[in-house]
Amino acid sequence: MKVRLPLVILALVLLFCGRKAEAQDASSLDENPFTRVISGETVFSSGAYRLHDLLALSPWWHAVSIEGYTWSASANALDPLEGTTWTVFVDGVPVASPSLGGDPVNFLPLQIHQIDHVEIVDVPTILNGQFAGGGAVHIHTRRPVRGVGILGGLAAGNEIGDPGPYLFTESATPNVDRIGPAYQGLASISDGHTYVQVGIRSDQHHATDEKIIGRTGNLYVGNRRPRLLLLAPSLRMGHYSSWGEVSVSAGHTRFQDLLFFPLFGREIPTTHLYSTAAMEGTLKGPGRSAFRFHGAYSQHDYAERFNRGDIDLDWRQERLEGNVEYQTGGSRISGMLGIGVKSDHVYTASALRDPSLLVASAYGQITVLPVRFWRNSAGLMTSRASGRIGVKALLGTSFVNAGKDVFSLYTTYARTLPEEKNDLWYWMYNGYEAPVDSTSSLSLPAYLMISDRFSADAALSLRPFLRTRFQVKGLYRRFQRTQLPAYDFAYASTSRPVNDNGAYILASHARLNQNLVGNVFGLSAGIRYQYLPVLSQEVVYVYTRPFLSDAMFWRSWTNLPWHRIHYTIYWRPVPRFSLYGRFLYTSATRWPDYKRAAPESGGKILEVVPSYINLDLTVQKWFWKDHLSASASLRNVLNRSLTTHPAGAVDNLSLHVSLVLQLGSAIRRAPD
């Protein structure tokens, strides 16, 4: 066991001298500068109708997408965009991210109308036995209230630029993306203590951008344009009373995807089957103590979606995980101890050295308030896999001036095992033979290193006036022995049978670099004005950039913008009618992976994604005593040709409409 002794001592000291991690302190969410709590009503008012729309609600998260459906995100500069390290929780249960990529929310058998509130955590945190090193999105669902309720929803969007009647003239142009329609249905029954809720959602997305058609035209089979199709039924049951709460959830998603697979250099048509069953609960103990637990089974199965190349990811991954923790609290000191386990098994025709993976962990957190205005927190998690030990330590302190002004400092250290990352590279090192085009190449290191990361976040939050809060935040990240993939895409036109002109592939030359060292620095400043429930607006400027870094580290981080400005306004001039606006400026980003392909592609592929301005507007009206709501959004109102990814679709102005009918106890009241 190669554990550095000073490290363990430091971690133990942290455990006993601090307090419960800031990011988890639900009682201080309104003043926690590193956790943003967004109500379901706000989510709904913003025109969101897909779960990944949540990513646009935090100024400190930067998200990009190739086709507008599957998003990669970097939370508060905790990671570059390569790979998903942010974690999604649903009612405390961590969602098992697929090792093969894709974002961890778009496939969930969960509906946006089930959301009670969302916590967006911008710092590493330990939550229910899981270390969320890349930030977290914690979705809390609404518990059905007494009675019977049903909800039905419909949402759809349309991007401008179709040929219209000119389709039949010499001025014909290709069709562009439609969005949706998405349907949602929910039914629930509750007696006030026990509830059952069933739901189903379906969604579709038309990936008809010419860049995507060019890459998929010779693989995709069908007489219509490439479509992503999703169908996801779900079930949730629970019981709550004075002794605690227990809930059981299950769901299954069939997602016919076009997954952009960088090793293959283009999208792979695949049928992603996701099944999950989970149980979680909190049981009250003596005094102010409680036991909290969860257990979950999930399965990601990437079956072949019929395609001309017979490309098959040949991958099924099952996961069993759970945790048990004991929490105790007092007015001055509170703490928590827990253990967790995560077991993965992969089924594939590739000869894996070990298809099973077991990670066991033990963790604890403590919160101490020496005086009323000073709070300290510390947490420690150790995990063990393949005979090696990973360590995570959290330390936070904050000074609160009567709930008005807050100064917080939050630091974390993470020594992460490759087994904990559980990503594509781990499994490829383990023997998985991912689909690779004949023109592509791949270079893997002889062994995978344990990576180290230190992060520090400081925030000064001042409330000089009753409804106005100023906030300045700074961040520093130090990465050591870190792993980052680098691709060298080459553009190659193809003459294979296609429906469309301009077919091409991106020949991928991939390499996993490790032992990289880098530093990232960031600053942000914002003003928030709230006169709830009538008016709320916020403007935040975010600056982030790497420095003193290895060239390969720099390469991966230059695809994050250095400057961002995020402005939101929510205005509800009269009850049941609201306007929501969001303005985003993002500076240009550089993508060295596409440097070679860009000039060869004649402008299809970019090396530099230009800066962009995006303005979204949503109007929402509630009718019939809140039984019915309608919203309409114009996205990209300024109609700039907007792209976030060098190989991604170009988006223009689009109109989205959403209708929701709710009856009985399912009703969600409009903000009064």
Binding site: N158, I160, G161, D162, P163, G164, P165, Y166, L167, F168, T169, S171, A172, T173, N175, R178, N223, R224, R225, P573, V574, R576, F577, F623, W624, K625, L628, A632, L634, V637, L638, N639, L653, S654, L655
Partner: protein, 191 residues
């Protein structure tokens, strides 16, 4: 789009400086029925001859100004054999305001946003028979009140449908309208 935003701002400048009393919102319903015709000549008219269509609009006082919803159905005849005839169904919601009423004349101005669905006579590209596209419009209207809530009106609407080559028709619409107190059940729904 920028022009439309500018026009919207311009219209707002002329709006009353105070909001209508919230109690009056949804108090009455006005139903407008009229014939509508595409009168300007654009590139579009080189391929299609517009016929006279039918427009149905429902207006009600909103918290500020008025809100409306409706649809317009219009036929278009293709000049050439390989250019199909089609029907255009524009469904929209709108908002606007009434200028101070010069009884019995009433002047209204507003904006509309909606979807223009074009249904072609035969199978099109990849089997599609329909095309849908966002449409934004600005509109001015004059109404002459007659008796018992009945009016006649004439309106001009400049619309922009955001197809790749924009459709920019100017429509003239004329017809009758009837205004009545909103039934209680409908007021409950709308509020």
């Amino acid at each position: 789009m920028k022009k439309l935003i500018f026009q919207l701002l311009l219209l707002s400048c002329f709006s009353p400086l105070y909001a209508q009393n919230g109690e009056r919102a949804f108090e009455t319903i006005s139903i407008y029925v009229g014939g509508t015709h595409h009168v300007n000549h654009t590139r579009f008219n080189d391929y299609w001859n517009p016929g006279t269509g039918l427009e149905l609009t429902v207006k009600t006082p909103f918290y500020l100004g008025y809100a409306e919803a409706g649809g317009a159905l219009q036929p278009f005849d293709g000049f050439a054999m390989d250019v199909p005839d089609f029907y255009s169904l524009g469904v929209f919601v709108g908002w606007g305001f009434r200028f101070r009423q010069l009884s019995p004349l009433e002047i209204l101005a507003g904006v509309r946003a909606g979807n223009n669905r074009m249904s072609f006579d035969y199978d099109a590209y990849y089997g599609e028979r329909n095309e849908s596209e966002l449409t934004l419009a600005v509109r001015s209207e004059v109404a002459l009140r007659l008796f018992r809530g009945w009016s006649v009106f004439a309106a001009g609407t400049y619309a922009k449908t955001y197809t790749y080559i924009r459709l920019k028709p100017f429509y003239v619409t004329a017809g009758v309208s009837h205004t009545f107190n909103t039934p209680q059940w409908l007021r409950t729904i709308l509020r």
